[in-house]
Amino acid sequence: ELNGTLKIFSDMSNPAPRAVMEGLASDFDALHPNLTVELTVIDREAYKTQIRNFLSANPPDVANWYAANRMGPYVSAGLFEDVSDLWEEPAIADNLASTKSAMTIDGKQWGVPYTYYQWGVYYRKDIFAELGLSEPSNWDEELANCQKIVDSGRACYTIGSKFLWTAGGWFDYLNMRTNGFDFHMQLARGEVEWTDDRVRQTFANWRQLIDMNGFVANHQTYSWQEALPFMVNGEATAYLMGNFAVSPLREAGLDDSKLDFYQFVEINPDVEMAEDAPTDTFHIPAKAENKEAAREFLRFVASSSVQTKINSGGALGQLPVNAQSSVDADKFLEQGFDMLSSNSPGGVAQFFDRDYPAEMAAVAMEGFQEFMVIPDNLDEILERLESVRQDVY
């Protein structure tokens, strides 16, 4: 029987995820009467810088983080506990197999995923209807739609690029649709020059939308949340975003009759569709004190029932990783699940700043933001990125 305290640090600071995390903690607490669960929720942005400090200074027993490249520095610095043993247990090995590769570095596993979510275009169904538009399926339709929207005095897309990563999402999609998943990953590994014509093509496509005033103005001043009201108020009709945007949009009054989802359209028919689906994870810091309880907690969050529960529409509103879990009967989750399981043959990417090395990502996303504001600076931006690429790799 577990005892002592279990310290959990979490970055689920937005209201809905926060509630989920708190629920998770208290459920686990209730399950183990002799164990006290202490939960600390840290602002999502702040968490990203603080994790390094607490991992070495005052490590909790369990911490949130992200899969893939983002784990790299901590794994190589020996700050995460190797949890390969858990991955040998059938409950996990069998049911979480789809993400095992994302959790693997050096042949070992370093954490368990608890959720992932699709990215895609969330749009105002009612406005589309008003303008007589339908969900586009290729780039031309997309552009045509957008033109109509712009003509109606709206922007096609809202975006808040103050903290840069939202622009990374756009690049992911445009690049994967223009050049394909494999090229995207080659670029991530630094194997392609940023001044490559293929990269330029991606930006050329992007520029089409920019030049037609497809994006809301002044997006560089807003965070992603601050960009939400444009969509809610009908000043913009769509948002390329992760599924976590659904909950605040709903809260703001966009019910399912007004809000809908479609997969980012095909641009280059020669490449296979690929999607961003970031996976969020739990890890045990190497210096954790109560590792036994921590492992139990990881088992707990990996279990199908828990993942079903926490990913439900009323909770996180995301997709469970556990194959045994059921996807909530939520319109967006179902669509997302369908999309990822059947219509993403090219592959699944984590997200720009998770796939690309941090230094590269930082400079690149800044370049994307600049490009979105001043597209004419493209050459300069690409040269800058190229020189950073040569530095980083």
């Binding site: 942005e45 990203k48 810088t49 390094r52 070495s56 520095p73 901590y74 190589s76 610095a77 700050l79 690029s161 103050k162 903290f163 840069l164 103005a217 002044n218 997006h219 560089q220 001043t221 700043d353 941090a358 230094e359 990502a361 930082a362 400079v363 800044e366 370049g367 933001q369 600049e370 504001v373 001043i374 800058r384 020189s387 530095d391």
Partner: protein, 310 residues
């Protein structure tokens, strides 16, 4: 046996003698020790460590790798560094506007009408408020959709501005926000400075026929030199340390156009995509060297003052 009392007697006479003779050295040493220890540990050593660190490549987690001057070489070609440096100079120059502005307000308020004390303290308000709050307040003030600024511009039939979103304006927007509390600070310095102006000199100048601006220029401002000096020092330091406002208002954006060295170094060293400690340290060293010019100036003028004194 017989030696013992003798020895202790000698010790007795010796020890107080030593203490007494060195009382003027030992006492200050004892009083200084805790302060110096704290200061050494938290300020002096870290400065040295930072210098040292700037020759290493280190991600804050693993082993540091010695790279010599590589970080500095890289700075030379780092566009973001260049932008930061330029912005720092903009800050330095424009922040100094707080000095005349503060003087102007101080002159305006240097009266004895009823309630003036309350006015003075209300004018001083912005300085007491945290820069975080000032930053927030000004962010809303500038907000391109609903900000008060654009509401006012609209009243005058002018185009709306996205101050913080425009790479050409953002830095100035932040500086303006910074000038707000800084001006209040300078105002207080000048108010007390004006208080200390020798009234007899003003009277003498009145008899000499100096009035208004000429009085201000020839008599008052020269006498406000100490206040101006202090205002200058604190403003320069404020300008070079500017971090809070940038962090709150633009987070260095749009696309890095509002970075200054202090923010850039934070970004490089401790932010989400940073953790290049050595590189960050190198930036800090550059900042330190710039500041050193002012520190040297300040110390030099202090030294001039001290030379004559006791």
């Amino acid at each position: 046996m017989s030696n013992a009392p003798q020895a202790s007697a000698r010790a007795k006479t010796f020890r107080p003698g030593f203490m007494a003779r060195n009382r003027q050295v030992i006492t200050p040493l004892l009083f200084l020790t805790p302060g110096i220890l704290f200061f050494l540990f938290y300020v002096i050593f870290p400065v040295i460590q930072s210098f040292n660190l700037s020759f290493y490549k280190w991600d804050g987690l693993g082993e540091a790798e010695y790279v010599g001057l590589k970080n500095y070489k890289k700075l030379l070609t780092d566009r973001a560094f260049e932008v930061s440096l330029w912005n720092n100079f903009k800050w330095l120059i424009l922040y100094l506007l707080a000095i005349p502005a503060g003087l102007f307000i101080a002159l305006f308020l240097n009266q004895t009408v009823t309630g003036i004390r309350l006015y003075k303290s209300l004018f001083f308000f912005p300085f007491v408020i945290s820069q975080v709050v000032v930053g927030l307040v000004f962010t809303w003030f500038y907000d391109p959709t609903f900000g008060l600024l654009n509401t006012i511009l609209e009243q005058f039939g002018l185009e709306p501005l996205n101050v913080l979103g425009d790479p050409n304006l953002a830095t100035y927007g932040i500086i303006l926000a910074g000038l707000w509390p800084q001006t209040a600070y300078c105002m207080i310095l000048y108010l007390t400075g004006l208080n200390a102006v020798d009234p007899e000199q003003i009277e003498a100048a009145r008899l000499d026929g100096a009035k208004g601006w000429r009085m201000l220029w020839h008599i008052i401002i020269p006498q406000l030199r100490p206040a101006t000096f202090i205002a200058f020092v604190v403003t320069i330091i404020g300008a070079l340390r500017s971090f809070d406002l940038i962090s709150i208002m633009t987070y260095g954006g749009p696309f890095g156009s509002t970075r200054v060295l202090s923010f850039y170094m934070f970004e490089k060293a401790l932010s989400e995509y940073g953790f290049r400690m050595g590189y960050g340290a190198a930036i800090a060293v550059v900042l330190f060297v710039i500041m050193l010019a002012f520190i040297a100036y300040f110390l030099w003028s202090m030294y001039q003052d001290e030379k004559g004194a006791r």
